[in-house]
Amino acid sequence: MMPLSLPMQTVESTQVGEPWLNMTIFGLFVAVTLVIVLRASRNTKTAADYYAAGRSFSGPQNGTAIAGDYLSAASFLGIVGAIAINGYDGFLYSIGFLVAWLVALLLVAELLRNTGKFTMADVLSFRLRQRPVRIAAAITTLAVCFFYLLAQMAGAGGLVSLLLGIDDRLGQSLVITVVGGLMILYVLIGGMKGTTWVQIIKAVMLITGAFVMTIWVLAIHNFNLSTLLGAAMETAGNPEIINPGLQYGVSSTSQLDFVSLALALVLGTAALPHVLMRFYTVPTAKEARRSVVWAIWLIGGFYLFTLVLGYGAGALIGADRITAAPGGVNSAAPLLAFELGGPILLGVISAVAFATILAVVAGLTITAAASFAHDIYANVIRKGNLDPDGEVKVARRTVVVIGILSILGGIGAQGQNIAFLVALAFAVAASANLPTILYSLFWKRFNTQGAIWSMYGGLGSAMLLIAFSPVVSGRETSMIQGADFVLFPLNNPGIVSIPLAFFLGWLGSVLAKTTEDPQKQAEMEVRSLTGVGAEKATEH
């Protein structure tokens, strides 16, 4: 076991590294991606171009973009920090986030690609009554995107305090505004094509960066995982860091909370609207399958890196210094970069973290804009009597509105726990969307009433349980200080709201007096499995 002296113990100041170097590297990323977005946007003419990048990406490209979309700031900063401080329990997140992709691969991706066009609502309303189902699906889409957006924007604010040495609220708000403004620009100009390229570049940067750091940490510990774990135990002064239970084992409530979180993680991914929308950017169902396969390898590899990085941060820096640093838990990865490669590596990793936030936020914004313009405006308000140019115009305006809302929300959500907000988005997605997606793809008797009950029931119960959970009130770490209206003991609502939504979907279908058109059900089944008549790539 190598003795661990901590020469950097005195560095407890408000920031590390060179803010100007960090900003320069990030500026470089912005400049390069902006040029690519501008070039990509030249061919964006139709709605299929704007929402689905002309369905022209290959499986590997889309898989990389999915990894870029999925590996958010919560994954990178949050999980590395969680492992550094809570040890094994942080690793549990990674596993849930990865295994969840099997739901997407086996049950959702290809069938969805074959039946839909631009949004999740296209699939859900295929054989059910258009108006009510579309409205419900658009509302759940917007709700999930909103929570996810808040998490990312709040993360941007927290990151700034560490990396740029901007501690005050005004400075952080300014940076959130800049990040939001950039994102609006990307999505407005580049549409899905520009967004996809930003995500691809970011995924390559993030995974390469994490890989280099992983090798570095392993090299310090003789490429021996056991040695690394030993070093982490020694720094932590607690051998329990390699065992499960440090965070979730403290009481029976926290154990149940963990099961609830695990359920939301594994069932949430395949119901995230911004992930689902990515499957429309490839020309065929087979390419959609290849996308998921690429995504699984990249995401799986990345989560293995985070295991090493998390324990590496625990060993080389230690939980005390991480929690004392501005940005708290989220600062473990940047601090590790500084420890390993000095200000330059810190600058690169910071730029990657910013790029991560920017790319995820762009993906969410275009999803939310498509859902509003395509589902609510074009199909419900204008009842389909809107030419595609008009729809894209509405979508672009929506991008600006959503961008401004998320900037304001991000400023308001500063200091909130990023991982919590993301887990919340997963729970809402798994409750509100997944039952209806699975029922409409696989259960013949499913009908409009079942869909409506399941979507609103899942969304409503998840939100209510969160509102009355310890997350919102009753604890020192709660959102609302000094109030206590806790009625539900768990932080994550999944264990109640997900089964409830499945049950309501079944009950509503069984009790419905009207029946759906069997022809439509047959058409959906034939289309979903064979890909007949599926949307093809546009040519330019």
Binding site: K45, S226, I242, Q255, V293, T538
Partner: protein, 127 residues
């Protein structure tokens, strides 16, 4: 360039009798092959995942048993989740390429040949 037809109502009034086609033996075979793979596999990985989650949550002593150096059963089980995820992915791709894609392509071509006006002219738009 392609102009995008006005938005969905996907599949309204298609002049193809899908209800009849649903009973087509070839299509039924495709559906059977698809479901007989994905359903058991989905049940398997969910059970395996929840076994892991419950052990990590409630059987912490067992999971903390050292196996080799500082590496314990919990870590090995966690890494095995990665292994099974990768293995199921590869298994499904092989299965789909061999058993699903050819038959799906046959049906697709047959349907597109019987009703070209529905499926080829304006892809996806049946309005």
């Amino acid at each position: 360039m392609a102009t995008e037809p006005s938005p969905p109502d996907a599949g309204t009034a298609a002049p193809v009798d899908f209800t009849a086609y649903q009973q087509n033996p070839q299509f039924k075979e495709l559906r059977k092959r698809h479901r007989s793979f994905v359903f058991p596999m989905a049940v398997f990985f969910l059970l395996w995942y929840f076994l892991y989650v419950l052990l990590a949550s409630y059987a912490t002593d067992f999971m903390s048993t050292p196996v080799w150096g500082n590496i314990n059963i919990g870590l090995i089980m966690g890494l095995l989740q990665f292994v099974t995820t990768f293995a199921i992915t590869m298994g499904y791709v092989t299965y789909a390429n061999r058993k699903l894609d050819p038959i799906a392509a046959d049906i697709r071509h047959e349907l597109e040949a019987t009703a070209p006006e529905v499926f080829t002219e304006k892809p996806g738009a049946t309005k």
